[in-house]
Symmetry: C2
Subunit: 417 residues, 2 copies
């Protein structure tokens, strides 16, 4: 009798909580869509990238200012799916031949974009009194690009299939690969004081296996599946098959230790390599725009917490500026080395500035592993948000300077109005 | 120091759990879409309603058989959103003028469809040895129709805007209103032994307020908002505005004590009353089909648990048959009383058979309030699943018998191939 009563009480509490959670989620989602509709209007009038408005909406309603909305489990799920859909659409819009052509350039850009933040921001952290390992960790945190924000800006400007666009996307994939390796090196270094070569070998093996599998999917599996979906003529069959491929590859890339975004990006490329690229884009875009993508960008703002400690202001200011400059200079130099002109290299550098989930996860691990104290942990999260807020603005500005591309982007925007 | 370490450990555990949850969710969603694509093919070949295949997929992979998938919080969220989107699309496809014309018929059908299950299934429960209040509670559980399943079948057959279709949808709304009142009467009866008239008055007042607000939204607010969205020409603006209206009304109906489905249905009607009904349908349908609706139907199967107790078999068999018959006869008689012909009345009765969330919630409350023992609670959930599995089959069969409508449905299906 006692047990049954206890079970009842647990059931009761869980259901009440679930019901309240659902109501809160629905009204939060509704509010996010309303506010981002308004912010989108303002940004288009002011010729700002829309993502900036969405992040600011998150900061406004989040714990830093009004404190009326918080990042719940459900919003967090939608935000993660927003990244996946955004990267999938990035892949669909990406030109596979162009990506292949600029893959070497992408690797150079990514490497330079890792070396600069690790060296400069790690070095400056030493000057701020951090010990070598925590300083290196801070460098690694700021080496991880989250390109999804640039994807949104590039889509807005219609530049996903420009040579600068594919270089940014390719470099972001390479950046993720390097980031995972660096992070695992740092983790074993922190825990054991030495580098675990066997463990690293396993990580590399898993990554290689993923890329081989991804190539097979892009070239053979996905086009066959999409053709099958077209033949079967099920209602929404094309859209469902595209989502199946997207989720399967996102899951596989996560299994290989990479981020979901990488798998989703290759899924997008795979679908764009079939006869149904346009259909997939037309069906999946509203799925992202109506539900998931706004939650992702507002979520960045929601996760930003204010910093009370005025002593930190110098640290924050310097690290934010360096966070932007190290990527612009590093990746820009990489772009020049790969043969891009000055304006294009600058645009590529700006496109690699955003930091997001990957940097947050790395900082989180540093916090869990006792490498970062809690005061520096929240400060670093604040810096990541600031850098990410500057990034789309910078990308939009640099796009205008690129001969041909800037005019094309302006032309596209003009044609839409 | 101790506190910080404790905080770290909590963070760590929560993040690890969140990461694992996300991976499980992604592969579950992917598996659901793959399996329902296959089940959809089989059902179309066998001329069965696709929802039956989807529910069977859930039973197959769920705890009753293979036990490889479970209803997680995330899947449950997607399932709830699936109901909302399905009912929204039901509203978009519904003909407002026709619905108005048949609103009196709908109320008669709903009332008859409540009286029969409460009287017959409550009475039979008395024969099975239940005391009066638990017996009445079982009757109330089986009086609540969940029409979303019929909406899927009616959409498949292109019959949402037939006079039988709007009568089913209207009756389902009236059924929800009656259900909420009955449930609160039962709850106060169980807790205090008498009926709380003031509380009932408040519930009625909230419902009236909701319907007044819904009418204002349908006639003025929604068409104005949709026109505004059309003028603003934001990317995906029409789809986003439709989702905003849908979520806001679902939230409001929940606030008024009604189910989310009722609000979503009126939101659909509101959008269909604007100039952008077709756009909304075209954008929102893939959102539902690719992600949420399959999760809802598979989720019904996932929540079905087998019953070990062989003594229960007679109870299950009788109650399942009665669960189907009481609605078919009750609502069918209601249809006849409202002037429908025999075949149409039978189709309306079949359309009102499905039980879902509302019945599950009522059973849950009965369990929490100690009215139902745990052995009867899980048995009743099993019966609800069986009834719901029979319902779409029955509806599809009865549709064929309706003169004109059946031929039209066959014609639509033929034209699609």
């Amino acid at each position: 009798m006692y047990t049954e009563r206890a079970v009842r009480r647990t059931y009761d509490a869980r259901n009440e909580r679930a019901a309240r959670t659902m109501a809160t989620f629905i009204i939060s989602l509704c509010a996010i869509l309303m506010l981002t509709t308004v912010s989108g209007l303002i940004c288009r009038k002011a010729q700002l990238p829309e993502v900036i408005g969405q992040i600011l909406v998150g900061i406004l309603v989040g714990p830093s200012l009004l404190n009326v909305m918080h990042m719940s489990d459900s919003l967090s799920l939608f935000s993660d799916l927003g990244i996946i859909i955004l990267m999938f659409l990035g892949g669909v819009g990406c030109d596979l031949q162009l990506l292949k052509k600029y893959s070497k350039a992408a690797v150079i850009i990514a490497c330079m974009g890792v070396v600069f933040p690790v060296a400069v921001m790690g070095g400056v952290s030493l000057l701020f009194g951090f010990k070598p390992i925590p300083a290196a960790f801070i460098g690694v945190v700021f080496s991880a690009t989250s390109v999804s924000i640039s994807v949104a800006v590039l889509r807005e400007a219609g530049l996903l299939d420009s040579k600068e666009g594919v270089s940014i996307l390719g470099a972001a994939v390479a950046d993720d690969v390097i980031g995972v390796i660096l992070l695992s090196v740092m983790c074993t270094l922190v825990n054991t004081g030495s580098v675990d070569v066997a463990g690293l070998g396993l990580i590399l093996l898993k990554q290689v296996l993923f890329f081989v599998a991804a190539a097979v999917v892009v070239v053979w599996v996905a086009p066959a599946l999409m053709t099958l979906a077209g033949v079967l003529k099920a209602p929404s069959g094309i859209a469902v098959m595209a989502v199946i491929i997207c989720l399967a590859m996102a899951w596989a890339s996560n299994l290989a230790g990479l981020s979901y975004a990488v798998g989703a990006f290759f899924a997008g490329i795979a679908v764009s390599n079939s006869d149904y690229a346009e259909d997939a884009d037309r069906y999946i875009e509203p799925v992202g725009d109506t539900l998931f993508v706004p939650v992702f960008f507002v979520g960045i703002g929601l996760q930003t917490t204010g910093v009370d400690d005025t002593k930190m202001i110098v640290f924050i200011a310097i690290m934010t500026v360096l966070g932007v400059i190290t990527k612009v200079v590093g990746c820009g130099l990489g772009g020049r080395m790969a043969g891009f002109g000055g304006a294009s290299a600058l645009m590529i550098g700006a496109g690699m500035v955003p930091r997001g989930e990957m940097a947050l996860i790395t900082a989180q691990i540093g916090f869990n592993e006792h490498v970062l104290g809690s005061e520096y942990y929240s400060t670093i999260i604040f810096i990541i948000s600031l850098v990410t807020l500057v990034a789309p603005l910078l990308l939009k500005l640099t796009i205008r300077k690129v001969p041909g591309v800037g005019a094309a982007a302006a032309g596209t925007a003009g044609a839409e109005q």
